[in-house]
Amino acid sequence: MPDLLWFVLRRLFATVLVMLALSLAVYLIFYALPADPARLACGKPCTPDRLEQARHFMQLDQSVIQQYLAFLKGIFAGRTFGEGAAAVQCNAPCFGYSFPLARPVTTLIVDRLPVTLSIAIGAAVLWLLLGVTLGVGAALKRGKLFDRLAVGFALIGIATPSFLLGLLAILVFGFWLNMVPVNGYVPLTESPVDWAWHLITPWLVLATIQAAAYIRLTRAQMLEEMNLDHITTARAKGAGERRVVAVHGLRGVLVPIVTIFGLDLGALLGGAILTEKVFSMQGLGELLISAVGQLDVAVVVGVTLFSAFLVILANLVVDVVHGVLDPRVGHA
């Protein structure tokens, strides 16, 4: 399929450009910071001399463009702050160095990522299953009790902020019924059972909220799809109702759902931030919020860029998947 290959290459090229533009924009914005990170690092009795030293060490004495180029270079080749014995090494995919935490940003992100991913991926699987089954069911039972229940459920999910539902869940299942742990994260490698047990409430909460949008989307798409002429054709050919729905109806609904799902996965960080706060889990969101509190620019920039890259990457994947799923893409 040379058509598709070209399409992917074009999109890949555009993606790299967008990432570059975005990182430059983020860099320019955040280095207009009014507070001086070097002053924070310098400590309480801060002599001008020491301040200058700190600035030099943190490479804040260079121009923004120089800093940006150093940052870009750091991603591919790593970078070193300072010289000699005091030098701080930041290895190859270096997305900056957090002086307050004395760790490379990449390490910080990699440390926190499992928490965020655990929350997001578990929830995503749940909400996809829940949303699509309920949405399809509601569409097929349009106007019936099942449809009303599903639509009502979706409405409540849409209208409830995730953090509110999270707190409610903690109150009911954690405190009143004492069924599940209310906070904390246990690494998967330590104990898969505890891992899942601690995550079950956040998963359900996030899944309920997100499934709402999927129920509405799936239901609307399915209703539209089942009204199309080619569905009647399938019936006229002698396809049974189950086959009509599964092979002909769902096939058309697949494209928009996969699109939204990809974009939602790309934006998983946003949803996870709120969940992490509610359930006191130390994920990327928590990393970002505490970095904002400590004026830790390197971490803020790193996390922002990382999440932006996730979104852009998701867009790319969605476009490609779209091209594979919909034979009409790329021909028009």
Binding site: T232, G238, R251
Partner: protein
């Protein structure tokens, strides 16, 4: 005896044709909607024999598509269907959905007006034709595809083997309609219902598609129910004609009866003028002043009365009494539902 019942119910076959394969008698279709009951079809009869063509004509909304969907059992759940639909003497109304499924696409197939929307955009045309075959034959996918390619070839798709892999949007309108016809014919159905199969196409392609339908009909002996707005096409290919108005039969008979001896003012209106033997009929449905009544709005009298130019010649009866189909002079079963006893043009 199904045969006898059919004859008594008026599902008569015309022209002394062979025994009809599809007989429809006293078909009623009522939709239950929020706005109340909508009687879309109120008692029509028709039949068609192998190798023969029945044309159904009538203005938009007269119930042509609803009738054909009722025959196929394809109406939405809010439709109530009564009457008789006999396929080879077997009653279809009231069959279980599984029994109906086995008949659909196998014994009776449908060709739609708009081939682009009738085909699934996500599957190759070969797959879609093969699917129609696999639904009724226990064969491997490969065999089904082979059969599909043969069918595509038969309906005149050039290099069918390769084109079978292409998707509907990669075809021209005429080629797409050929694909749809191939899909309908892949199981060698006894009855083919074509609902305005050429309306979406341009004129030269229309003629090609009609010729294709005629060819396959001749080759397979398929009974064809042709729903059309194109009186030129009807005059050329039909054996019998049913004229529908507001969910009822206004007139029916052989194609000659209709074009040369039309007895219903509505049929005359459709033909646009007095039928003249020496002139070819007008190709398109002529427009008749006024618009058809919405289903169910006329409860007594003749549904065509508000638009009828001859009503004054009859008087009260047109308003108070519904005209039934009554025999008219002609080749066989020429009937019209009009109080006007004689041929209308004589009166003017």
């Amino acid at each position: 005896m199904p045969d006898q019942t059919a004859n008594n119910q008026g599902a008569t076959h015309y022209n002394g044709s062979p025994r009809p394969v599809l007989e429809v008698a006293d078909l009623h279709v009522t939709f239950k909607t929020e706005g109340g009951l909508v009687p879309a079809v109120s008692g029509i009869d028709f039949s068609v024999a192998p190798g023969k063509t029945l044309a159904i004509v009538g203005e938009s909304g007269s119930g042509k598509s609803v009738s054909s969907a009722a025959v196929m059992g394809l109406l939405p759940p809010n439709a109530e269907v009564t009457g008789e639909v006999l396929l080879d003497g077997r009653e279809l109304i009231g069959l279980s959905s599984e029994e109906l499924r086995r008949i659909r696409g196998n014994d009776i197939a449908l060709v739609f007006q708009d081939a682009l929307s009738a085909l699934n955009p996500y599957y190759s045309v070969g797959w879609q034709v093969a699917e129609a075959y696999r639904l009724h034959h226990d064969v491997s996918k490969k065999e089904a595809l082979k059969r599909a390619v043969r069918m595509l070839d038969l309906v005149g798709i050039p290099s069918a083997e390769q084109r079978a892999k292409a998707y509907p949007h990669e075809f021209s309108g005429g080629m797409r309609q050929r694909v749809v016809i191939a899909m309908a014919l892949v199981n060698d159905p006894k009855v083919l219902i074509a609902d305005e199969p050429t309306t979406a196409l341009d004129v030269t392609v229309q003629a090609q598609i009609m010729r294709l339908l005629e060819d396959v009909q001749a080759e397979f002996g398929t009974a064809l129910v042709l729903i059309s707005h194109d009186l030129g096409v009807v005059a050329e290919v039909a054996d019998d004609v049913l004229v529908m108005y507001a969910g009822r039969a206004a007139e029916r008979g052989s194609v000659k009866d209709l074009f040369h001896r039309a007895a219903h003012p509505y049929s005359l209106g459709l033909l646009g003028a007095m039928p003249r033997v020496d002139l070819p009929p007008r190709p398109r449905l002529a427009t008749i002043p006024g618009s058809p009544p919405s289903p169910g709005s006329i409860t007594t009298g003749c549904p065509f009365q508000p638009r009828c130019a001859y009503a004054h010649l009859v008087g009260e009866r047109c308003i108070t009494e519904r005209p039934e189909l009554t025999p008219r002079p002609g080749e066989g079963y020429h009937e019209a539902a009009c109080h006007l006893g004689r041929r209308p043009e004589v009166m003017l």
